[in-house]
């Protein structure tokens, strides 16, 4: 187990409590094991004693292949999974015992846009905002504003989500996450599957959010260029284990390499795009 703490900050007053503190976090899933019998099951670790800290205002990227445990980590931090060991604190609140408090602080954008497809962007945002206590008087102005900020065309606000492109849907997903002003934003592969233009637009918006919004960002991705471009520190999650979490320059220096791809090869002995094994596929299903 290694501890990956953020660099010391010069503003101790607002950084009294780290945004995210994860210690020895462990999660495993049970899977059918047909080789051992019809009803046999075995435990499959998805996260294995993961420890790291993210300071308030930081943007940290966690890299990893499909099935590496990135989405499991995001789900644990957003109270959607219960841990099997270790602990996680978000702004000092226990993620598994004070889930109500955590939910007020966190929002998330996942790889799938996840909306009621027959409803429009405005309607989806409107009801989602109510769950966070935003009344109609507030959302009447806040929704058009946030949609404008993410570059969503005004004339398509009332169109069903099912008629929107994947890039458009992802912009609405970003708007939904930011509408509730989360202090911790969990981005789980927000640009996967987007065309290059939409990808750049979403990345630009993440930069804007960092510059203008008092939010801490945890970005999980398998896009190394995206991680390098957006994050203060980059971590590598491989088969449930966090191999490192530090600034990109330090990673390259540590392994004596020029790119993150080479760092992955040096750290794992595999190339990043290499096909996963059966267990990785299983982790992906549950992740």
């Amino acid at each position: 187990m290694t501890t990956f703490a953020a660099p010391h900050t010069t503003r101790p007053s607002i950084r009294r409590v780290p945004a995210v503190e994860v210690r020895d976090l462990r999660k495993e899933f049970r899977r059918r094991d047909r080789r051992a019998g019809r009803f046999a099951r075995r435990r499959m670790p998805a996260l294995n004693d993961v420890t790291f800290t993210i300071e308030r205002g930081e943007c940290v990227a966690i890299l990893g292949q499909n099935g590496s445990g990135k989405s499991t980590l995001v789900r644990l931090l957003s109270t959607l999974l219960i841990n099997d060991g270790g602990d996680a604190k978000i702004f000092g609140h226990d993620a598994f015992r004070e889930s109500r408090a955590i939910r007020r602080l966190v929002n998330r954008v996942s790889v799938e846009a996840s909306f009621f497809k027959k409803m429009s962007a405005s309607e989806n945002l409107s009801y989602a905002a109510r769950f966070y206590g935003m009344p109609p008087s507030q959302t009447r102005t806040a929704i058009p504003e946030i949609l404008e900020r993410v570059g969503f065309p005004a004339d398509r606000r009332t169109e069903s989500m099912e008629n929107l492109s994947r890039g458009m849907q992802q912009k609405v997903a970003l708007a939904r996450a930011l509408l509730t002003s989360p202090v911790l934003l969990l981005l789980d592969e927000p640009t996967t599957g987007l065309d290059p233009r939409s990808k750049l637009e979403v990345q630009d918006f993440i930069r804007t959010v960092r510059a203008t919004h008092d939010a801490t960002i945890l970005l999980c991705t398998h896009d190394m260029a995206e991680a390098e471009a957006l994050a203060d520190r980059v971590g590598l999650l491989d088969r449930g284990e966090l191999l490192f979490l530090e600034p990109v320059a330090d990673v390259k220096r540590r392994y004596g390499v020029r790119t993150l791809e080479e760092a992955f090869l040096a750290a794992t002995g595999r190339v990043f795009e290499q096909e996963e094994n059966e267990d990785d596929e299983y982790r992906e299903v549950f992740g």
């Binding site: 409590v17 899933f29 049970r30 308030r56 499991t72 789900r75 957003s78 109270t79 959607l80 999974l81 219960i82 702004f91 000092g92 609140h93 004070e98 109500r100 408090a101 939910r103 007020r104 602080l105 966190v106 929002n107 998330r108 996942s110 799938e112 846009a113 996840s114 909306f115 009621f116 497809k117 027959k118 409803m119 309607e123 409107s126 009801y127 989602a128 905002a129 109510r130 769950f131 966070y132 206590g133 935003m134 009344p135 900020r149 069903s160 939904r176 930011l178 509730t180 002003s181 989360p182 202090v183 203008t212 919004h213 008092d214 939010a215 549950f286």
Partner: protein
């Protein structure tokens, strides 16, 4: 844009000092929960508008289905016109309450199943809304929507085949149905956990629960015709008292009867917290085993 987060980042921070602070905190929480409840209703209104034609088709199907049951009354041999009218009303009340219950169970069971299908379930479950308000909001909309559909169904069928209920006390029937709805929501919350535990079969098991409840409650027949062991089960089914009371109000014009009211009150008081406790256990199970997201 500045962060005006919905919650404090400080652990254990209260709204203010002492009793006044605690009251303000409770007031703010209550307000947020009420806005959240409004959100559940708002979402269902949007969806009902978008699926209006489906609803219309379903309404036509329900009316046709009800007619097939009500016409059985006309085939009763040697029955007088008054007796046929009474049997038709008995069947119509049964079919209407079946349809009403069907809506409530469908909405409650699909609280999880539908959201899982749309992919929104994780966003709903990570929102800072209490599970009680989430499920009760779903139930409240189902009751409202179910009452509108049941009213349309009743009067459409009555008008189509000319059922007369000159003594009917519709106010008492509606009041009793509203009271019974509290119990139905509680039991609906229990069944809504099924898709959480079994993503593949849970929704179907909800319909099984609805069918079993109506079978033992005397949906088209008196409870007394059933075997004794089924009559015992009928005593703890809220549908038994809803059916008996509504029939008495519509056929005989009786008001709210205490004999129907008190069992419904007791069942509601027991069923809602029990349903919530069961749902919480199911949610914990789903979060432990990663079943919240699985499709199927």
């Amino acid at each position: 844009m500045t962060a005006t987060g919905v919650g404090s980042t400080e652990p254990g921070r209260s709204a203010g000092p002492g009793f006044a602070g605690a009251r303000a905190g409770i007031g703010a929480t209550l307000r947020q929960e009420l806005i959240g409840l409004g959100g559940i209703v708002e979402r269902n209104v949007y969806l009902t508008k978008r699926y209006f034609l489906w609803d219309l088709a379903f309404m036509v199907w329900t009316i046709a289905n009800t007619l097939t049951i009500v016409f059985i009354a006309r085939a009763v041999p040697n029955a007088t016109a008054a007796e046929v009218n009474k049997y038709e009303t008995v069947f119509l009340v049964g079919a209407t309450i079946w349809a009403f219950l069907g809506i409530i169970f469908e909405f409650m069971t699909e609280t999880v199943a539908w959201e899982r299908w749309e992919g929104t379930i994780e966003y709903t479950f990570m929102a800072p809304l209490s599970r009680f308000v989430h499920l009760f909001g779903q139930g409240a909309f189902a009751v409202l929507y179910g009452l509108i559909r049941a009213t349309i169904l009743f009067f459409a069928v009555a008008a189509l085949i000319g059922i007369h209920a000159p003594q009917a006390n519709y106010g008492a029937a509606l009041a009793l149905l509203a009271l019974a709805s509290l119990s139905f929501i509680g039991i609906g919350i229990m069944t809504s956990v099924l898709p959480l535990i079994s993503p593949e079969k849970g929704a179907q098991l909800g319909f099984v629960a609805q069918g079993l409840m109506l079978v033992v409650s005397g949906v088209y027949y008196p409870v007394s015709v059933m075997p004794e062991w089924m009559q015992w089960i009928a005593k703890i089914s809220p549908a038994t008292y809803a059916l008996r009371g509504c029939r008495a109000s519509i056929i005989d014009g009786t008001g709210l009867q205490w004999a129907d009211v008190w069992p419904l009150l007791i069942i509601a008081v027991v069923a809602t917290p029990l349903g919530l406790a069961i749902f919480r256990r199911g949610e914990r199970h789903a979060k432990r085993h990663g079943k919240l997201k699985r499709s199927g």
